[in-house]
Symmetry: C2
Subunit: 361 residues, 2 copies
Amino acid sequence: MKINGQPYRTIWEAADGKSVEVIDQRKLPHIFDTVRLDNVERYAWAISDMVIRGAPLIGVCAAYGLATAMFENSSDDGLALAYERLIGTRPTAVNLRWSLDRMRGFFMGMVPEARASSGFALARSIAEEDVQLSAAIGRHGAEIIQRAWSAKGQKGPVNILTHCNAGWLAAVDWGTATSPIYHAVAQGVPVHVYVDETRPRNQGASLTAFELNEEGVPHSVIVDNAGGHLMQHGQVDLCIVGSDRTTSTGDVCNKIGTYLKALAAKDNDVPFYAALPFSTIDWSLAEGVRSIPIETRSDEEVTHVSGKMDDGMIATVQITPDGSSAYNPAFDVTPARLVTGIITERGVAPATEAGLRALYA
Amino acid sequence: MKINGQPYRTIWEAADGKSVEVIDQRKLPHIFDTVRLDNVERYAWAISDMVIRGAPLIGVCAAYGLATAMFENSSDDGLALAYERLIGTRPTAVNLRWSLDRMRGFFMGMVPEARASSGFALARSIAEEDVQLSAAIGRHGAEIIQRAWSAKGQKGPVNILTHCNAGWLAAVDWGTATSPIYHAVAQGVPVHVYVDETRPRNQGASLTAFELNEEGVPHSVIVDNAGGHLMQHGQVDLCIVGSDRTTSTGDVCNKIGTYLKALAAKDNDVPFYAALPFSTIDWSLAEGVRSIPIETRSDEEVTHVSGKMDDGMIATVQITPDGSSAYNPAFDVTPARLVTGIITERGVAPATEAGLRALYA
């Protein structure tokens, strides 16, 4: 998608053929900067420090990380060490394990000496696949938006609420939750997006708003508290969110606060969709609330907020009193009973085991 | 309650007998400062700019504002002008109208020349009454916390989630939602409070956390997104919030986001209480979601966040991209079906018309 009118992806290969460049998402929306990742430690830092984030992008970045690691030490031990270093960076997203397992399986099938020269090709194929998955999610999801527009007599924009950033910045391109929006807009459907700011890291206010701005999609940033009120008053036609891990039964683990919006959607008969590629589905789990490990992140994400001052400098301010502690779970799980449907690259399934298995028979 | 070990109220009369001092709540928790209010315009500014806030305190402050206005112009016209200026400051809280009507009725019953000399006495009685109401709410609410402690075998603290600041800073003293907490703690019940930060103005992170800190009550600040996850995992024993207006049928209008927490409480069988004095009940309304006017405040409250920098200076940072707009409704309405009970100065009522009318027969 576009930044300043120029097409970008979130990750691309550097000219040396053994490292990548990524957009530094910690500095958006105020500063556009890129970061070079050229050793496994640096990839691990980029993932855990959230230089890059979003389940699909974490998977792709980790794949490149393992490929880069093979230039340092392509032995079985080197592979195992790099795998362990990368998989420990984020506990909740399942795409990370999926792509690392895929890369490791590929490397284990060849002699160590061949690993460095072929790793980037596989990582590239995972990245290209992600773009295709996102595009397919967009085509299927756009049909839902088209129907919502028809249902309101093609009067006024379709008002879509989204939480966090499941946009192209969370993937390689297109995004998951935003891909249907970009596709619908391209088809001529007027859309207005309510963007949850998504505390504590404000991925909505900073990344989703940035994306929509750059693509010229009308939107309003709202605090995470506001969505229920909007749904009570008919101001939201549908919700679309992403997912970091989805159980085989349709429970959706996503950014903290998603569950609250799903409750409000149910209470007000607003359709609530999760958009995700197959790599986000954890077929080993039949239940999410008890089973999915929820990452707890630092207090400082809650107690401090970063942004741009009047003079253009980036600053961090403390909002809590000295002496107050915080608690910072990063994800929650929305039970399948609250999910209208799951938008995948293969189509839209009901959030049930039968629904998902029918798509992926 | 205490600040730095010293007892304070949120508002007190100045030595000149015709103006008041209030704590400047915009600067908390980082700076303790007070502001003198000595003419009606200054009172109106303090209320609409949220130098002071909270339904009970707005009512008391407006009462003093009308009393101060009588020193400027005590004619019927002067009274009408001051009344109109003050009642227009905040549309949602009903205490504002209640206390202004009470003051106006009092003034209309006397000759204009007598109004200035007697206004402060009535305003003072409203302030003292507010303290007694808050204390009584605390005594009744503490019984609920005592029972919750017994129900868990007196093991571990009672975990209470609250939203926004319905603390002593929202009233004259004690508070509404926090008064039961302060009373239970004084009775020896161990309490831990989950404090919703309460975007956009962060009254939880700044004011409630400040209060609890100064009183030594254990607490954790959480983002507004987190409460649902905590309730799913049994980490919240009960919720207590305040109210800016309550219908005769028990619908509770309170800070934006309250409704989302009530939905999560219902979904997880967590008791959800609103604590409020009788002056918050609007007996003229039988329904809240459609009937209560919801104040929309400035975009900037959403797009910008204020806090303390490392050097101790207060700064404001912009979190959204240039060009993104925002939408900022300040309150929402929680339907009575989601409210376990209403804690008033007369006891705890079910959130029904019969329940409330039985208390106020």
